[in-house]
């Protein structure tokens, strides 16, 4: 048993080492984006780079998750939500300098992967039929708790009075991109996804989809906010996102431009 | 042998291991600690080495205080110069024999250590085996490495914990002889822990008998084996002939004390201080029991003649152990030895009547 003095000295040395790992220089701003932008945003960022813009880092996830993280002090410079609510709440709680701007309006679609017995149509009649025939074992949507696209999916299903029927069959994705992944993997017979994802090249050949009437749910006005206006790169990217070029790109990916009232 | 006290030890505690030991060791002396297992011998050794702290302890070596619980002094083992040979050698398995010895040479400058280590190994007759790892050494060789390592520190006291118990008889004899030769050149006080009385008697200058951590008697082997101070000590050193008698009187002019025993009146060594009429335990070592030849009639003037019948004969090679039932009621049992040759010549067998003499100088009273 070593004498007390030696032990104490060793302990001090150890704690000194523990406090000393080098700090990582984090100068490249981080953009937190709703996963619906999984395919659109990298393209926009690429254009930004080629136009001479500096490097940015993109992180995708559910809007609700990012909201929580920002409250906990996550170092994001820019937040692109899939709806308005989270951004407005951040502004309310003074975690965002302003309520930001609407950059797009989203749509949900009914999606059926290749080989599924589900017939897709805008009225969801095919879904109802398949449900009553017992052909739907699993149905994927994003988690309504913290993914705006999931919440809208729930609203639409409730409107069409299919929610209770479908509820036991639901597979909840952590965000709408994961829901898409479930829907495509073949283990679900269908799902409600973002149009921006269903229309993407990666998914287009893996199934069929039909847009769901937007009046069946609250609008998916997607808001973004510059959390660190002092960061020059972030400011430039924010401006780039509002350019007509970007709006064009978003539209091609299935995200409508903000309406006049936005 | 100088009579300078080199080591003083006093250890007292109630538990967890009871101790009430007090002894000293002189320069050049080999003191054997004997006692049954559990008598605390190893604990005492560890306390001297600094590996154990009894509640009340005083250990002084060549005047230097190693432990003094009264003053809160306890030198760690590193600061004492004690050489300890463990019962299972405790050699470092990842080092060679030379490496093992070198670990104890920290007091020498680094360049000198290999040479010194080799010299020590040579002294214990292990030259040529310096590079061997412990797993490639025999028991006797391991023991010698352990000894060399203990001696490497130029210890002021050498502590040996049952060093020969794990080897065969032949190796043991050889190691014992080497120890004796080594000590002739190194007058370091040595404490040897052993449960083997014979070994203690052969090697030790003095024996210290222990029981449950208590030192009962310390003295030269002859004293312990012939004049134990109590029946307990007599039993611990395996003296068989322990009896009880009554002091009948004293004859100072003849140098005798008279002892009444089972109808016999024996002449024992004079012990004037014992009151007449008191009951007393007494012992006679087997060597002081002399058998009368059966073919010659006994002469009455023989010392303390005693008659009886042979109960048991056990021959161990050249020596035969005899157990004899002495006439009297109840019949006490007497043990002695004769040469097997004499046993044959006298046609000894169980049931045969014999006569022995109990030599007065061997009858030792233990009041």
């Amino acid at each position: 048993m070593p004498p007390a003095t030696t032990r104490r000295r060793l302990l001090l040395a150890a704690s000194g080492v523990l406090l000393a790992p080098p700090a990582r220089a984090a100068t490249t701003p981080i953009v937190a984006a709703a996963s619906v932008l999984q395919f659109a945003l990298p393209e926009i960022a690429d254009r930004f780079r080629r136009a001479g813009g500096p490097r940015i880092r993109l992180v995708f996830g559910s809007s609700g998750n990012f909201y929580r993280q920002i409250l906990q002090g996550a170092p994001y410079a820019l937040f692109l939500s899939a709806d308005e609510d989270y951004v407005l709440r951040l502004a309310e709680r003074r975690r965002a300098p302003d309520p930001g701007v609407i950059y797009a309006v989203g749509r949900i679609v009914l999606f059926a992967p290749k080989g599924s017995p589900l017939e897709v149509d805008a009225e969801l009649d095919g879904l109802e039929r398949a449900l009553r025939r017992g052909e739907i074992r699993r149905f994927a949507i994003a988690n309504p708790e913290h993914a705006p696209y999931g919440k809208r999916a729930e609203e639409a299903l409730r409107h069409r009075r299919l929610w209770d029927l479908l509820r036991p069959r639901l597979v909840l994705g952590e965000n709408v991109a994961q829901a898409a992944q479930f829907a495509v993997s073949g283990s679900a017979q269908g799902g409600i996804l973002a149009r921006a994802l269903a229309a993407a090249p990666t998914l287009r050949d893996r199934g069929r989809y039909a847009p769901i009437p937007s009046r069946w749910h609250a609008p998916l006005r997607q808001r973004m906010v510059l959390l660190r206006p002092e960061d020059e790169t972030a400011r430039r990217f924010f401006a780039h996102l509002r350019s007509p070029d970007s709006a064009d790109l978003l539209r091609r990916h299935g995200l409508d431009p903000p309406d006049r009232s936005g | 042998m100088a009579d300078v006290t080199a080591l003083e030890v006093e250890l007292v505690q109630d538990g967890p291991i009871p101790l009430a030991a007090r002894f000293a060791c002189r320069t050049g002396e080999l003191l054997a600690l004997v006692g049954p297992s559990g008598s605390g011998k190893t604990t005492i050794l560890r306390a001297v080495a600094g590996l154990y702290r009894p509640r009340h302890a005083l250990v002084r070596c060549h005047g230097e205080v190693w432990t003094d619980s009264a003053r809160g002094v306890h030198l760690p083992p590193q600061r004492r110069r004690a050489g300890l040979v463990f019962q299972d050698y405790a050699l470092f398995p990842h080092l060679s024999a030379q490496g093992n010895v070198e670990t104890a040479l920290g007091h020498l400058p680094r360049p000198e250590r290999p040479g010194r280590a080799r010299e020590l190994l040579r002294r214990v007759h292990l030259e040529g085996l310096e590079a061997r790892r412990p797993h490639a050494l025999s028991g006797g060789q391991k023991q010698r490495v352990a000894l060399a390592r203990a001696l490497a520190r130029e210890p002021r006291v050498l502590l040996l914990d049952e060093p020969f118990s794990a080897v065969d008889q032949v190796t043991r004899r050889r190691l014992q002889r080497q120890l004796v030769l080594l000590r002739q050149r190194l007058p370091v006080p040595t404490i040897l822990v052993t449960h083997d009385l014979e070994e203690a008697a052969r090697l030790a200058d003095r024996i210290c008998v222990l029981h449950h951590g208590r030192t009962l008697q310390t003295g030269p082997p002859s004293e312990i084996l012939n004049r134990p101070i109590s029946a307990q000590v007599a039993r611990l050193v395996d003296l068989g002939n322990i009896f009880e008698g009554e002091v009948a009187g004293h004859r100072p002019e003849a140098g005798h004390t008279l002892l009444r025993w089972h109808g016999h009146l024996l002449e024992a060594r004079l012990r004037r201080e014992i009151a007449v009429g008191s009951r007393v335990a007494w012992v006679i070592p087997p060597g002081f029991v002399v058998m009368h030849r059966r073919d010659r009639p006994s002469r009455g003037e023989r010392e303390n003649p005693v008659r009886g019948r042979i109960e048991e004969l056990v021959a161990f090679g050249e020596t035969t152990n005899v157990t004899m039932l002495v006439d009297g009621a109840p019949a006490p049992t007497l043990h002695f030895t004769v040469s097997t040759h004499a046993a044959r010549r006298n046609r000894l067998a169980p049931g045969v009547e014999v006569r022995v003499s109990l030599l007065a100088e061997g009858i030792h009273l233990m009041p």
């Binding site: 150890a14 996963s35 170092p75 | 463990f86 405790a90 920290g106």
Partner: protein, 221 residues
């Protein structure tokens, strides 16, 4: 193949090993010198990350290290950054969830050294530090290697806690395990497949190292 994520994972694993192995060794030795009662209690605490779901660990780590906590606040005051969502925070979290993987093999290795070897070393004049480096460590090194390999592999594979505490920030906290998850979500199966195979190969090689050495008897036993 997300090289940045792989590099992050390897760095995290190496830093964890570098910090945890000495700390774990000290803890393992300290545990051994305790009485059975306290030793078992602390042993159970150390073993907690083995049985707790990563989400529970992640939750409590967030509470302990978040901006609002004393620890997080102190860190921010000292360095200006936050512990959560940073690499340093991941290292801190990694030290916690890897504790049993380091301490248990180390403890076993040191416990296997007979007590009388340390005593013999002390009697031979070696200081406690010398005893540790010259006697205990050389005899315990298979255990140290096992601890290293386990911590390394386990850190490479850790997901839940890293996600909760780190936030999957590329170049900062998005380790390869998270990058794989990310690619699956993006339906980029090719990338996910390559990265998974790489992680499998590295983890297997690391664990094979443990099995190569742990049950083997040293030849000088």
């Amino acid at each position: 193949m997300d090289w940045e994520a792989l590099r992050l994972s390897l760095e995290l694993a190496l830093w964890t090993c570098l910090l945890l192995l000495p700390a774990g060794t000290l803890l393992a030795r300290a545990l051994r010198s305790l009485r059975p009662g306290p030793r078992r209690l602390i042993g159970a605490l150390v073993a907690l990350p083995l049985v707790l779901p990563p989400t529970v660990l992640g939750y409590y780590l967030l509470v302990l290290m978040g901006r609002a906590s004393p620890l997080g606040g102190l860190y921010e005051k000292l360095t200006g950054g936050s512990l959560v969502f940073s690499f340093e925070g991941l290292v801190a979290a990694s030290l916690v969830f890897n504790l049993p993987f380091a301490v248990q093999p180390l403890e076993r290795a040191f416990a296997a050294i007979p007590r009388n070897l340390r005593e013999a070393a002390a009697v031979s004049g070696l200081s406690p530090v010398a005893i540790f480096f010259r006697i205990e460590l050389p005899l315990a090194w298979p255990g140290v290697l096992a601890a290293f390999a386990l911590v390394f592999a386990h850190t490479l594979g850790e997901f839940g806690v890293v996600l909760m505490v780190g936030g999957a920030i590329p170049g900062e906290t998005r380790t390869i395990a998270i990058a794989i998850y990310d690619r699956v979500q993006a339906l980029d199966e090719a990338a996910a497949g390559i990265m998974s195979a790489s992680l499998l190969a590295i983890s297997f090689a690391t664990i094979a190292l443990v099995y190569l050495f742990e049950p083997g008897r040293r030849r000088d036993g």
